[in-house]
Symmetry: C2
Subunit: 332 residues, 2 copies
């Protein structure tokens, strides 16, 4: 056995992160104490929210510490267990990614069924990503059948689920924006009624062309110009679920802000920010419904996989630049 390798935060990024902000560190493979497990990670998730945790500011989760391993969702097999209910070979989902071997309290691990779906799915379509899409669309934005839905960052892990779930739940029309012609093509293949590349022109004009009768729901992964365009295109009583604002995570200047917020009044619009952690009451319903869609072949999901813990920083940086189609994962 060749030891453990993990990624530390070497310095806090100013604006866009670079490879220099990360450090690959070799350590010993840990040994579990009472009530603990050691897990050999197989897939590690890299997600937009991690960028915020690299800043030294108070937020909904504490910032990452310098010169310590990063963390985040991961899935792997139990290598050694000193905890009741867990045996070597069990597949578990947990929060200590960014490393090859994780030492964790058994209560911080959740067993998942590797026969129901590929284990990587528990980081995406059947995991936090999928629940984010499901809860944001159906609970936060309260989408109703027949409505028109717009999602930005639609080829990403969350966005591609939002669009498909909207169609499966009876949306009248689903529109997605993405950052390349290949992604736009993929959205059409996933069943989006319309899709556009935001590089091709002002978002508002493209959105109005795609949704001449306006939109009822906006699922925001991007912020900035996209949010302003969505507010402009919204119908009466429209709702926006604000999930992410990736356009500004690396901004060093104050970001562009929607200048048309006065429309909230006359159109009676609601903008609501959310975190998936507040919606765990939906998890059971979400897993049941989503597993059914997967089984019936009604839901597709994309993964972009980077191999090797040593390439996790590149995977993260590539995800921020939008190089992924669907869920960005590191296989270790």
């Amino acid at each position: 056995m060749s030891g453990n390798r993990e990624i530390h935060l070497a310095s806090r990024p100013q604006g866009w992160p670079t490879a220099e902000n990360f450090r690959l560190v070799s350590t010993e493979v840990p040994t579990p104490g009472p009530g603990q497990l050691v897990v050999r990670n197989r897939f590690i998730s890299v997600d937009p929210y991690m960028r915020g945790r690299m800043n030294d500011v108070k937020s909904y989760v504490p910032p990452y510490a310098l010169d310590a391993p990063l963390d985040g969702a991961a899935v792997g097999e139990v290598l050694a267990s000193e905890a009741e209910g867990f045996a070597p070979g069990d597949t578990v989902l947990h929060g200590l990614g960014w490393r090859e071997y994780a030492l964790l309290d058994a209560k911080a691990a959740r067993k998942v069924d590797p026969d129901l779906a590929p284990v990587s799915a528990y980081l995406g379509v059947l995991g936090m990503t999928g629940l984010t899409a499901y809860a944001g669309l159906l609970d936060v934005a309260a989408m109703r059948p027949g409505e028109t839905v717009f999602v930005s960052g639609a080829a990403g892990a969350v966005g591609s689920m939002v669009g498909q779930i909207a169609k499966l739940r009876g949306a009248g029309r689903v529109i997605g924006s993405a950052g390349s012609p290949a992604k736009v093509e993929r959205l059409r293949a996933l069943g989006f009624d319309a899709a556009f590349d935001y590089h091709d022109g002002p978002v508002y004009q493209q959105l109005k062309a795609a949704a001449p009768d306006g939109i009822d729901v906006y699922f925001d992964n991007v912020g900035g110009e996209h949010l302003e365009a969505a507010i402009g295109a919204m119908n009466l009583h429209g709702r926006a679920a604000i999930c992410g604002m990736i356009a500004q995570y690396n901004a060093t200047e104050p970001p562009a802000a929607p200048r048309n917020l006065a429309l909230l009044i006359g159109k009676r619009l609601t903008l609501r920010g959310f975190l998936v952690g507040d919606h765990n009451h939906l998890r059971e319903q979400f897993v049941r419904e989503t597993a059914g869609w997967l089984r019936d072949g009604k839901l597709s999901y994309d993964e972009t996989v980077v191999d090797g813990i040593e390439h996790a920083p590149e995977a993260f940086l590539g995800m921020l630049r939008g190089e992924n189609l669907g869920k960005m994962l590191v296989r270790v």
Copy 2:
């Protein structure tokens, strides 16, 4: 009888309106047809939303026509009636203000009780103004006892009600902003726990000093810097009822926009625009509760009264400039 006088829109304002945008016109006192009333108006309401109707843009109410009388809430006595259920001398509330005599269909008039409160109160504390405050605070923002509430434009007709209703409904702390030392003093007399003049420094700093533990509810009459400050000061799960954005109604440039909307996500904030017309289901409860507070001397309201229909444009312009304390009215 000396004829009728009314105010017409002579031209559409560009930016701040001026007296030249209005015209005083003399006409005949009308005669009612079948099912109609003629009302001698006594008080006419001038409100911020009217500025929007002076632009030639589609909104939640149609724009005012050029060279025709403006309209808006008014209260007066029936002079002549050709409608069942209405007799000369009845006091009625209706929507044809900006004139001395109004000809209207009886179904567009609502009888009010002049013995319950001064008739002007039906344009303010017991009318649309009061219901706007009540519905926005309790329904749209869903204020709960113990919470901290911030209201901008707090010395205005709506704002002063919001603050007092918040206290009466058990808010833990109520903070108001206004535009002059006299208004700030008035807010303290009305029972606000803290009040500040937004000219005295950045809104965010003043708000944080007044609410060191943050705010839970923001009632927005102003927009712009106030909204950004409120978002910055909000606690987890905070809610903003967006009622007005008077700071930008006369703007000819795109208005300042909150640059901190990404906080909506981590703090799970909700911004919701509303119009009082969507909340008529609360009217009965509102009148009952508010009339009780008035009777018990628990609710105060201010009126700034300008005399003479010929001065209605000045009253409107003064209201936009914030020269009123409480409800701005024209007595005719």
